[in-house]
């Protein structure tokens, strides 16, 4: 039974890492769109 | 072909002469190497029964750090006097410069190693149980492995923001098989427990592969702009 804890730990760790990375992508997209808007306004 | 080797030799002699004249860099490097050995002596008990098993690793880690510090120095001088730009503009083959730099670094690092080794022998009361002559090819091939890639990555790092830290960041991962070969080979020879033959062949293969790669790509690196 103890061993199954490791199974769930592995699965959770996998998705935590994926979500973290997707989070960084979303943040970077947002920042870029912000910059685009500023450029569009011609500063 | 004649001018290639001529150019290599001329650059090498120039570097050695410059290094010799400004003995500051050399002296501080020597002292640094001594300090590294002493730190290791205090960290890893020399009297322990198993010391012979770990000394191989200690020695090469010490050499690795000394080499990194040395490599960072040698390109810095070129950069200061904008010699690099002069090379880029001249019709001289980039490989000649690379070879000269590598050989110069090789000499420099070998001197450091030659000075650190007796210290290790003294502090750790080393007594080689295996065929001692095999230590020479291991040392030569191992040092070249570190130096050839180190020179290449040092040149790469010149263009980056955190120059000094960039070199070890790039060098260490790539050097892992070579380090394994050097350490395992040295340990095999010191303990006499197994043959270093495979490791010497491994180091030789590593050297051939990466010397070729460095020579092939150095021109591209130098002229990348």
């Amino acid at each position: 039974m103890n061993a199954v804890k490791f199974l769930f730990a592995a699965y959770i760790a996998t998705w935590v890492i994926h979500c973290f990375y997707i989070g960084t992508l979303v943040t970077r997209f947002r920042r870029l769109r912000q910059q685009l808007k500023e450029l569009g306004k011609g500063k | 072909m004649n001018s290639f080797w001529g150019l290599t030799l001329a650059t090498l002699v120039k570097d050695i002469r410059l290094e010799w004249r400004s003995k500051d860099a050399l002296n501080s490097m020597l002292f640094f190497s001594l300090l590294v050995v002493v730190i290791f002596v205090f960290s890893f008990d020399p009297l322990a029964e198993e010391s012979r098993h770990i000394v191989g690793g200690l020695v090469w880690v010490a050499f690795l750090f000394a080499a990194v510090v040395a490599l960072n120095q040698t390109w810095a001088r070129e950069l200061r006097n904008q010699v690099l730009d002069a090379y880029r503009v001249s019709p001289a083959p980039a490989n000649a410069l690379f070879l000269a730099k590598s050989l110069g670094n090789f000499v420099f690092v070998s001197i450091l190693e030659a000075l650190m080794t007796p210290l290790f022998i003294i502090f750790y009361n080393l007594h080689v149980l295996g065929p001692a002559w095999q230590l020479i090819p291991v040392a030569l091939l191992g040092t070249w492995a570190l130096v050839v890639n180190g020179t290449f990555f040092a040149a790469m790092s010149l263009r980056t923001r955190n120059r000094e830290i960039m070199l070890p960041l790039l060098l260490f991962p790539i050097s892992i098989p070579a380090v394994l070969g050097m350490v395992a080979g040295t340990t095999a020879i010191l303990t006499g427990e197994n043959s270093a033959h495979f490791y010497i062949v491994l180091l030789l293969t590593y050297d051939v592969v990466f010397t070729t790669a460095c020579l092939a790509l150095f021109g591209t690196i130098l002229h990348a702009e």
């Binding site: 103890n2 061993a3 199954v4 490791f6 199974l7 730990a9 592995a10 699965y11 760790a13 996998t14 890492i17 994926h18 990375y21 997707i22 992508l25 970077r28 997209f29 870029l32 769109r33 910059q35 685009l36 450029l39 569009g40 011609g42 500063k43 | 890639n149 790469m156 263009r159 980056t160 923001r161 955190n162 960039m166 960041l169 790039l170 260490f172 991962p173 790539i174 892992i176 098989p177 070579a178 394994l180 070969g181 395992a184 197994n194 495979f198 490791y199 491994l202 293969t205 590593y206 592969v209 990466f210 790669a213 790509l217 591209t220 690196i221 990348a224 702009e225």
Partner: protein, 299 residues
């Protein structure tokens, strides 16, 4: 094109859920390891995906380096490797080397895939896009590689009793690859835009050359040092194999979506940088008039 992303996302989500169910419920329990072995359905597909992505990076880097001077030469060399490999697998001395389970035709097909893979990437991605592909595959590859390195020890601990076995070739090789590609990403971050691409491509080539040497060095090392007894080996239950492949398909689709996003992010990023540069050269008014081709499809 725009609608494709959400559609694929839904398909991928369904696949991942299906794969998860297969992994946890449908696949039979391992006789030796119990239920813990099910980590394999996340660990191995992530590894295969990571290696695929690193291979893409390697090919893209070579093509980027070769594009100026040696493009045709390298292309012919790669085709020659493929052809030579195919021919070689049908020669008796080489056939003896092939391990028992594999058919020569499978080996030959693999060799044929090498130039096919190379040419496909060269055809789909040209010029600047090759470099964007390189960054994308490196970054997403590192993500998947991290997962392999995290799930590996988590799996090893209950099964072998230790977190890390120094002679474990696969995990150590994965660690070295991870280190090489993290240093690749660090190089990209810390160097200036013009030379970054070439320097990084050169580093990728060095990394690829290093891999077989790492394999050799660890392989020999482990023959000299006692290794933990790792039970298992032997062929896999077909239902497990089936689940493994489904898992891989699901993660491949997922990886593809992430790569697509990252690719678009990088393309957009470069356009913004270009626009900034134009602005400082020409002046704000003039550059606002100049068109920004893909900004409208930035969503």
């Amino acid at each position: 094109m725009k609608r494709l992303f959400p559609i694929l996302s839904i398909i991928t989500a369904v696949l991942l859920a299906y794969a998860l169910r297969q992994a946890l419920v449908v696949a039979p329990t391992d006789a030796l390891q119990g239920d813990v072995y099910r980590i394999i359905y996340y660990h191995v597909p992530s590894a295969w995906t990571a290696f695929l992505l690193f291979s893409i990076n390697f090919v893209a880097s070579i093509q980027y380096l070769a594009r100026a001077k040696a493009e045709k030469l390298v292309k012919w060399i790669v085709i020659a490797i493929g052809v030579a490999g195919v021919i070689a697998t049908f020669l008796p001395p080489v056939q003896q080397q092939i391990p028992a389970g594999m058919r020569p035709s499978a080996v030959a097909t693999t060799f044929l895939m090498i130039p096919a893979f190379y040419l496909l990437i060269g055809w789909l991605f040209r010029g600047e896009k090759l470099d964007i592909l390189a960054v994308t595959s490196a970054e997403v590859g590192v993500v998947f590689c991290t997962i392999v390195l995290v799930t590996g020890p988590i799996w090893a601990r209950p099964v072998w009793g230790i977190w890390w076995a120094p002679g474990d070739i696969r995990l150590t090789l994965t660690l070295v690859l991870w280190l090489i590609y993290v240093s690749y990403l660090v190089l990209r971050r810390f160097s200036n835009s013009a030379q970054t691409q070439i320097l990084a491509a050169a580093l990728a080539v060095f990394g690829a050359l290093d891999v077989p040497l790492v394999y050799l060095s660890i392989w020999f090392f482990r023959t000299q040092h006692p290794q933990p007894v790792i039970g298992g080996g032997g062929s896999m239950d077909p239902r497990m194999w089936h689940t493994l492949l489904i898992s891989w398909l699901a993660f491949l689709c997922f990886g593809f979506l992430i790569c697509w996003s990252r690719f678009r992010l990088e393309t957009l990023h470069r356009e913004v940088e270009h626009a900034h540069a134009m602005e400082s050269l020409i002046g704000a008014e003039a550059s606002a008039k100049a068109s920004m081709p893909l900004s409208r499809s930035a969503k």
